[in-house]
Amino acid sequence: MIACEQIEKRFPGPGGGVTALSDVTLTVDRGEFVVVKGPSGCGKSTLLLAMGGMQRPSAGRVTLDGVDLYAQSANERNRVRAERIGFVFQLFHLLPFLTVRENVLAGLPPGSRIGDHVAHANELIEQLGLGERASHRPGTLSAGERQRVALARALVKHPALILADEPTGNLDPANAAEVFRHLATFQRAGGTVVVVTHGDDAARYATRTVCLSRGRLVPASSDSANPPRSPSTSSLAAS
């Protein structure tokens, strides 16, 4: 489905800059639910953005169904993202001036006939427990509700792949579990999911977990991939 081949990402800066990813090779097959686990700053988000065609690696290739994403033009990558990839972000990234329904419909590829997709959007909104909030603005929603709106926005275009960046980072355990359940439902229906997270609770939904430390993939048992938890992380994991 999607493969990273020896990708590397360096950010310029003082003292030679920062190497966020180094020699990362990861293949995710269709129908997998892969969790990339690692501490903050280990390069998880950079990896996810590179997989989504949003950040060109300094070296290596990212292929989607065998096609090198970064060999394509920016417009072609836009089209791939618009039609095949759904994103879910830790900070939700909802448009504050649109209602819940409009935010969900904003996830459709550019040029889509909105009228053809309203029923599906409403169905998703109901499934995610947002039926009564469909006409509300994001500013009036709880964090859990906002993340469910973001999830509906990712799902509305029937994507092949969902890339989720710390999707439960701002949620309480109950809401976090609900988001993972919905992602798992999508995966069981044939979709592919890649979640990057520093927490442990995604693992129970995953078909595979890989660990990232200091920009490199490491064996899951590596201590460096499981640093001492902060109190908040510990309580989340324990719940």
């Binding site: 953005l49 949003m54 836009n78 089209r79 990234h93 504050p96 001036f97 419909l105």
Partner: protein, 383 residues
């Protein structure tokens, strides 16, 4: 949702920024409109006030005895009346002269006392500028009397006087001037030529210079060069103090406009660029999201520039209305002579509606292009 719908929603959501941008545009447009209207009024007022000061150029026969001229105020020589037509017909003459008025002046005695008799011909103005001829227009058989002459003759408006054996109707009695105007009789040029026995002759062409140059720019030298070429039998005298005052007044009005308009434009542009930059910066996560959702640079730039254009149109309409109101409300107190000339200028509205959105779009272009040129991940992570 289409681009316009998104723009309108975003405008409402970021209403403070939208309001500040609109206010900035309204102020800039209002100032420009008010400055333009009042500058036009100031130029009109200057022209009118300066015109009321009278002619400032005297073109007399070159053979004039200047000692006689300065001691009597009248040339003792004449030139053919067609000289004024020749001067007016010269290409480019109206760049240096205007309101060309042929005149014949002489000394006469009336009621046993000396008087001045001046015949005024038809004034020739630059037809392209559509200016009204200045000075008196006197019909044949009529005269205008200076105050002292009228008192001496006990003449009244509508009465008659005798000149050279002919009867003339007193059309107007001039106010006391404190100059030799008080002992002057004005008549139509052909009548005065007959009375003085100089048919077809004049001894002066009165004119106004172009008001373009001040004394330090040697306007007289330039005027003399023109006369030398067109009327070699004439010489030009300039009432320098009056001409200099005209030129300085005119130049002041032009300099004011040259200073005020770019200043308003500069401040308006700076304000707009700052607010647009802040708005684009605030919207970087939104821009990043649109990129993540697969929207291209064109659509995102359309969202940003479309907002600028929309606010530009609003700012142009409101700014034109405000600027016009300011000019119409304050103008009459400032420009008392030409107050009635102050009126709304629809052409300014058309310019404002065309240029303000374009101006706003150009000011938004750089921050917008910078935002869409970045990698999607960069804008997405901007929060």
């Amino acid at each position: 949702m289409n681009v316009l719908g998104l723009i309108l929603r975003e405008l409402r959501h970021h209403w403070v920024n939208s309001l500040l941008v609109t206010v900035g545009l309204v102020i800039a447009v209002a100032l420009l409109v008010a400055v333009r209207m009042t500058t036009a009024a100031a130029e009109r007022e200057t022209r009118r006030v300066m015109r009321d000061l009278g002619f400032n150029l005297r073109i007399i026969p070159k053979s004039t005895d200047m000692d006689h001229f300065w001691s009597h105020g009248i040339s003792d020589q004449t030139m053919p009346e067609e000289a004024v037509q020749r001067l007016a017909a010269q290409h480019g003459v109206f760049l240096s002269f205007n309101h060309l008025t042929p005149a014949l002046e002489g000394r006469i005695e009336i009621a046993g006392r000396p008087a001045l008799l001046t015949g005024i011909g038809d004034t020739i103005v630059d037809s392209k500028e559509g200016k009204q001829p200045m000075g008196f227009r006197i019909k044949p058989g009529q005269v205008f009397l200076g105050r002292a002459i009228a008192d001496r003759l006990e003449a009244k408006r509508g009465g008659t006087i005798q000149l050279g054996g002919r009867e003339f109707t007193v059309e107007r009695i001039l106010g006391e001037s404190g100059t030799d105007e008080d002992v002057r009789i004005y008549g139509a040029l052909p009548d005065v030529q007959t009375v003085l026995g100089q048919p077809g002759r004049i001894n002066e062409i009165k004119a106004i210079d172009c008001l373009c140059l001040t004394a330090d720019q040697d306007p007289l030298g330039q005027l003399r060069a023109v006369i030398e070429e067109v009327l070699p039998e004439a010489r030009v005298l300039q009432l320098t103090a009056m001409a200099d005052a005209r030129a300085r007044q005119r130049q002041m009005a032009e300099r004011y406009a040259r200073f005020a308009v770019p200043l308003v434009l500069l401040v308006g542009a700076g304000w707009l660029v700052l607010l647009t930059w802040l708005n684009v910066r605030e919207r970087r996560p939104e821009i990043g999201l649109w990129r993540a959702l697969g929207h291209g640079s064109g659509r995102i730039a359309g969202l940003l520039l479309g907002k600028a254009v929309l606010l530009g149109v609003l700012g142009a309409l409101a700014g034109y209305a405000l600027g016009t109101w300011i000019a119409l409300a304050a103008g009459p107190d400032i420009f008392q002579v030409t107050a009635k000339g102050l009126r709304a200028e629809p052409a300014l509205l058309a310019w404002a509606v065309l240029l303000t959105p374009a101006f706003a779009a150009v000011a938004s272009l750089l921050p917008s292009m910078m935002a869409v040129a970045q990698e999607p991940a960069q804008t997405l992570r901007a929060d």
